[in-house]
């Protein structure tokens, strides 16, 4: 297989397979969770479960002061790599081109030096998070293979993307791009079956928490 054939395979059949696994996996897990259902609510709520639920989806994105003080590192590094990852994913011109092709949506890109710097910062944050996980006795104890796998498939697209953008001479450029796309396909395939699924389920979880809090007891 030549480098061009590899790139074509990665952009064609491999992407199809990865897309199918990703979407089928996410849809199955999402609907399975939804179909677990909730206990029927027989009492009239004093507050609004719906409003509370929706509000919490948003407000939980802001860490409370106690959490910041207790685990400053987790909050900072966690936010940096999450925000960085999405900035790079959503605002790099070639990526937008892909979304435009698949979804039909278009939005302006960020200048590439900004994306470049963000990628480096995100990679550093992810490395720091890994070091923290390994060095912290409790974190290490709680970590399973899946946690390291999730970390690996998250950092790989960033590293390979950086190599492909700068065309670092470890492989010819088409191969670098092919490896980058492959790493994203790996992320897509692993996503539904690991904790990475939190990117979808966090909204459900937050809603339920918020809904319980928004209930505020029984209307009298």
């Amino acid at each position: 297989m030549t480098e061009t054939e590899l790139l074509l395979w990665v952009r064609g059949p491999a992407l199809q397979v990865a897309t199918v696994i990703f979407l089928v996996g996410v849809a199955v897990r999402f609907i399975e969770i939804l179909m677990l259902g909730r206990q029927k609510d027989l009492a009239e709520a004093r507050g609004s479960a719906l409003a509370g639920g929706l509000r919490t989806i948003v407000t939980r994105s802001v860490p409370d002061r106690g959490t910041i003080q207790r685990s400053t590192f987790n909050v900072v590094a966690g936010y940096v790599f999450h925000v960085g990852f999405f900035v790079v994913l959503l605002f790099f011109a070639p990526h937008i081109l892909l979304f435009h092709e698949v979804l039909g949506l278009n939005w302006p890109a960020l200048p590439t030096p900004v994306i470049d710097a963000t990628t480096v910062v995100t990679i550093i944050a992810l490395l720091a998070v890994l070091v923290h996980r390994v060095l912290h006795p409790v974190m290490r104890f709680l970590s399973r293979f899946q946690d390291y796998l999730a970390w690996l498939v998250t950092i790989l697209p960033l590293v390979t993307g950086y190599l492909a953008f700068h065309r670092v001479g470890v492989a010819p450029p088409p191969t670098l791009i092919a490896i980058h796309i492959l790493s994203v396909e790996l992320l897509m395939v692993v996503f539904p079956f690991t904790k990475l699924m939190h990117a979808v389920t966090l909204f459900m979880a937050r809603y339920y928490n918020g809904a319980i809090a928004g209930y505020k007891g029984v209307k009298s």
Partner: protein
């Protein structure tokens, strides 16, 4: 022109001044990324170089490579360098034809065995030797015969270097590159469709100056010319970095000369000297005239997923796959959810309350 004449003598005969010759040597040195201190060495070497015998074989090609080399620069020093190599066989350019032409080739091989340069343009068909023959000799046989006595081989053009357009899917003639057939000779690939004239004259010059082939990259291309990508040297690169792209061939961005990435430009993965040496005696290059780079100096450029499709785009219809996948996933999710519910209901139904008696029985 005698064959024993040196290059310097030949150039003077053509009316090239010493000054013009040195300017050419300096330009060549800078192009080949050699230090200025090498200029006198190049000049001295070229002065004394004997005109090398060159045999040019054309196989499955369109003569575009020959056109590129002979027409666009005439009459520059590069063109004259061509005049002063002893081009003993080139069936487009030579006056002789038929038996006389083939005799010239055989004589050149005999007289310069082990010393002549072989230049090849065009790919070689392997599916059937009859697909392309010259004087009744198949391309494969002729290449192998001539390659045997060559000091080095220059594969000019993407067809000779990588198979090119004849090699494109579905490759009916079983076209292959020179390096697919010849394994025991130094091969310099000078790809491009066609290659830049100055690149091939530069490669020949390097060979004349140093008596050795230039430093090559992983695809056997001279690093001096193929060391940087079009994208790296593109004058439109600042627009890429700023995120300013032409979305069509006649929109505002195109008129302002913004980056052509979204129109399918292959500059980021194409290694060639177009953006620096340019074409037509330095006039411009494709991107400068508003068209994205096709990536013609890279292997399989014809099958690279579409000239007007950006490199980051999928080659197949992902949207439809996505809709079907979500549909199938949702259906499977509902089915699994229903199964889970049934299981739960069954478990609830089968649940028996534990009484104090049951616990006592266990003791």
């Amino acid at each position: 022109m005698s064959k024993d004449e040196t290059l310097g003598e030949a150039l003077r005969q053509q009316g090239i001044s010493r000054r013009g010759f040195l300017k050419f040597c300096a330009a060549t040195a800078s192009m080949m990324a050699l230090p200025p201190s090498m200029v006198p060495a190049i000049a001295a070497a070229l002065e004394k170089a004997r005109r090398p015998s060159v045999i040019w074989l054309s196989f499955q090609e369109c003569t575009g490579c020959t056109e590129s080399l002979t027409r666009s620069h005439s009459p520059t020093v590069e063109g004259l360098i061509f005049d002063v190599i002893s081009l003993d066989y080139h069936h487009t350019l030579q006056a002789a034809s038929g038996t006389a032409a083939e005799a010239a080739r055989e004589t050149a091989i005999e007289e310069n065995y082990g010393k002549y340069l072989l230049i090849v343009d065009g790919s070689i068909p392997t599916a059937n030797p009859g697909y392309s023959t010259i004087a009744g000799v198949s391309n494969v046989d002729m290449l192998k015969e001539v390659a045997k006595g060559a000091a080095a081989i220059v594969a000019v053009g993407s067809c000779a270097a990588f198979g090119g357009i004849p090699h494109a899917h579905p490759n009916p003639t079983g076209a292959v590159s020179v390096s697919d057939l010849v394994k025991d000779k130094p091969i310099i690939n000078v790809p491009g469709c066609p290659p830049i004239p100055v690149v091939i004259s530069g490669v020949l010059l390097h060979y004349l100056t140093f008596g050795a082939i230039p430093e090559l990259d992983s695809l056997s291309r001279p690093k001096a010319y193929y060391g940087q990508s079009i994208h790296d040297r593109c004058y439109r690169r600042p627009f890429y970095d700023k995120g300013l792209f032409a979305e069509g061939f006649d929109d505002e961005g195109a008129k302002k000369g913004w980056c052509l990435y979204k129109l399918g430009c292959k500059g980021p993965t194409t290694y060639n000297a177009c953006a620096t040496t340019k074409w037509n005696a330095g006039t411009s290059f494709p991107i400068e005239s508003g068209h994205p780079c096709l990536g013609c100096s890279e292997p399989d450029f014809w099958d690279g997923g579409g000239f007007y499709k950006a490199l980051s785009m999928p080659t197949e219809d992902i949207s439809r796959t996505a809709v079907y996948a979500i549909g199938a996933g949702a259906a499977a999710g509902v089915a699994l959810g229903a199964l889970n519910r049934a299981k739960k209901a069954k478990a609830t139904k089968a649940h028996e309350k534990v009484t104090i008696n049951d616990l006592e029985k266990g003791n």
